[in-house]
Symmetry: C2
Subunit: 108 residues, 2 copies
Amino acid sequence: MTYAKALDCLADPTRRKVLERLRAGPRPVGEIARGMSVSRPAVSQHLKALKNAGLVTDRAAGTQRVYSIDPQGLAPLRAWLDQFWDEALSAFQQEVARDARHRKDPKP
Amino acid sequence: MTYAKALDCLADPTRRKVLERLRAGPRPVGEIARGMSVSRPAVSQHLKALKNAGLVTDRAAGTQRVYSIDPQGLAPLRAWLDQFWDEALSAFQQEVARDARHRKDPKP
DNA sequence: ACTTACCGTAAGCCATGACTTACGCAAAAG
DNA sequence: CTTTTGCGTAAGTCATGGCTTACGGTAAGT
């Protein structure tokens, strides 16, 4: 059920932007917030949410905190999506087959 | 940018439940809503959101509307997540390497 | 020791959205 | 033609959560 928390986090655009800034590598909070349309405390709150969802990790470096993406945090969501995609696809194909049968025999 | 709408939809638990009920195959609205903790109009609204995000398709069948999962709708989200996962992983490995170097040379 | 830099948290405001009830419309049933 | 079934939509209520300002706390610099 841990994919749910990941989805809750990734639903917010600002949070996605924060995460995408971390894609290039670890960053301290101030550098993440620089040039963004929200305040630094807002970024801190988003980072807290991301950390709680297991999507990022943090580490102290002097007076500043460096955040990194946790690749393992994305794994459950990937797994859920994959399973979902496979099952939906097979069900979809079954439906196509059923539809083809109905096309041959339109009025039972 | 179409993955954003998918994430917005999947953030809602009720919407996920609706989508998971469709995993077993196409269903009319009433059958989807049956046994759920929200009213049928609520399910209709969620289905509208899911359709707008391209995650489901609908088709008329008499007085009832049958909804199905659209596998293609999940593809963009999968692609975005994959790319994200790959880049984050490589950056993570780079960070591990950098950390190892720092461990060898702790005080520059 | 004092100041400065960097960050997390608290309190409060406000917009978004999820839900309900009530209503209207189309297709099947009678 | 009338009734019933199945569904979408409108209006209104209420909770959730994202943002800001203000504050406190720790580590480095001087």
